[in-house]
Symmetry: C2
Subunit: 324 residues, 2 copies
């Protein structure tokens, strides 16, 4: 690290807000501000507004010469090309390829700018500041609206031939005719079971096939969310715990296949579901050790993200800024 | 590469024979000899015999100072430690850890010696001399008695945290109650369907459930081998082709999951089954492109090993010798 440049910029580009943070080497956020992602008609207008938002933050830490680089975590972000490609949820990037890294770099005196997708940024953040410090082989699994992943191998993020490696939410868990429909248009994907919507769907299926009492019956079935299951499980609700057992079994079996691939030191889970702690983590680990090939049994750590309470997405993206 | 040391030693340590080859930078074998792997009671005796076998080969190319390093491909070989660990098929290594790389190095004037498993050695060989020259992200799948794999990411072999990454024969393809028993003690593994014994089992199952005529009926069902299926398929036998369709579908679906992991430029297949050419390769590729996530569709190459007619295992192992 260049001691003359003690800061990086981290950008969490989400569907609603885009948060800009100035981050130091220990992962402290020195300055932060945000803009509305979709208040702009074109990518040019978005970048212009972002630059205006960034300028005073940069001045606060002593000017652009104190900044080593900038990292952006964005949906459909391609690391190799620094572009956002056909991002369905971004009005100014849904039907084309936006060279966002270059556009920001041009506005910021040629500052090195790197870009990747959200889950890869999370993995970078865990390695730089979180639960994966010192690890060279681990997998971050993000449990949110979807199921994402960032895979680190030999201390490097796995991008693959085209920049799109690490789509572990879309490995097939059920190849049979009953495999659940996934948002990707196929059936049986891990995401269809273990995303927030997948967990809610499991809840509705289990409630419909039993008469057992449950706190989850206090709400109309079609309004149940993943968070309701977590709250009920925390209160000892049996049906909610069965939902977590089912979800954890699926995640553990998926991780057993991932071990056969890259044999990581740890699986690190990120997202709302992990806030349930052992209620979800124990079923995952038990299922894994039951399902995995003997040579891997008992070796892998199952950890909750070390960045859950910080601004993880900004920190994760900022870690890319140190790469130059 | 050190021009003073234009050769490496490649060792293919198999259950029956251990072949030693002296290999140049273009992948030509300058000298070769072999010993019986299991004619020795201890690892020490095996290494002593191997050294005696190697000495005249080394002299042939000008002595040990012309050799850059040595690579060994061996069952249950661990790259990180240079050991063979609990190899079930090796009498002198089945119930312990043998530091084979160090033992050979000590006998050969401190020559750098590296060791890995057979499938990883095959991947090194493809990258150095075969179908993967110039590629940085690819997966070699070996179809033999078992199903093995060597995964290359960012130009490096994927060893994982413990040295045992890349066991793709043991991802689970059928989680249901009908999943086939695998040699690893679990059920539903890719290997149980797509190894030579898996293909023979598919043949018996299909023959037993139909009355259709087939060349495969010329043999008692329990004597049918994978090679018989290849020969029959080559003659246009319908049942044999159905067996290949089934096997190819399974391999293509597995590769679709592997793409979600490391998004390789190519899948390279090695082993007897591939000699059937398009009869097996076309079903694999078609199944893959049907099953894979849309962003990967049509991108990956499906190739047969470029080392099938050479001494692939020796060449593959020798590629490790250049690493120093």
């Amino acid at each position: 690290m260049d001691s003359q440049k003690p800061f990086v910029i981290g950008v969490d580009l989400g569907g609603t807000n885009t948060v800009f943070g100035i981050v130091d080497a220990r992962g402290s956020i020195a300055a932060e501000d945000s803009i509305k992602t979709q208040a702009y008609k074109t990518a040019e207008e978005f970048v212009e507004a972002g630059t205006v938002c960034l300028k005073p933050l940069i001045e606060q830490v002593g000017g652009i010469e104190k900044i080593a680089g900038m990292g952006i975590g964005a949906p459909n972000g391609n690391y190799y090309s620094g572009t956002i490609e056909y991002a369905p949820n971004l009005s100014w990037a849904h039907d084309g390829v936006v060279p966002l890294a270059k556009m920001f770099s041009d506005k910021l005196a040629g500052l090195p700018v790197r870009l990747t997708n959200d889950a890869n940024a999370a993995a970078m953040g865990e390695m730089a500041y979180g639960a994966a410090r010192g690890m060279k082989n681990f997998i971050v699994i993000t449990l949110g609206t979807g199921v994402g992943s960032g895979i680190v191998v030999n201390g490097q993020l796995l991008y693959g031939h085209d920049g799109f490696a690490g789509e572990l939410g879309h490995v097939i868990m059920d190849r049979g005719p009953k495999g659940r429909t996934c948002g990707c248009g196929r059936t049986g994907c891990l995401e269809a079971y273990c995303s927030a919507t997948g967990v809610a769907r499991t809840a509705r299926e289990i409630l419909a096939t039993t008469d057992r009492p449950s706190l989850l019956r206090n709400k109309p079935a079609d309004e149940i969310e993943s968070l309701d299951v977590s709250i009920a499980a925390g209160k000892g609700d049996e049906v909610a715990n069965e939902i977590f057992q089912f979800t954890g079994k699926m995640l553990g079996e998926a991780c057993a296949d991932f071990a056969a691939f890259s044999s990581p030191e740890a699986f690190i889970f990120f997202g709302g579901l992990c806030k349930a702690g052992d209620l979800i983590m124990k079923p995952i680990e038990e299922s894994y050790n039951k399902a995995v090939l003997k040579i891997f049994r008992g070796k892998a750590k199952f950890l909750v993200s070390g960045l859950m309470n910080a601004n993880a997405a900004v920190l994760g993206a900022s870690a890319l800024g140190w790469e130059e």
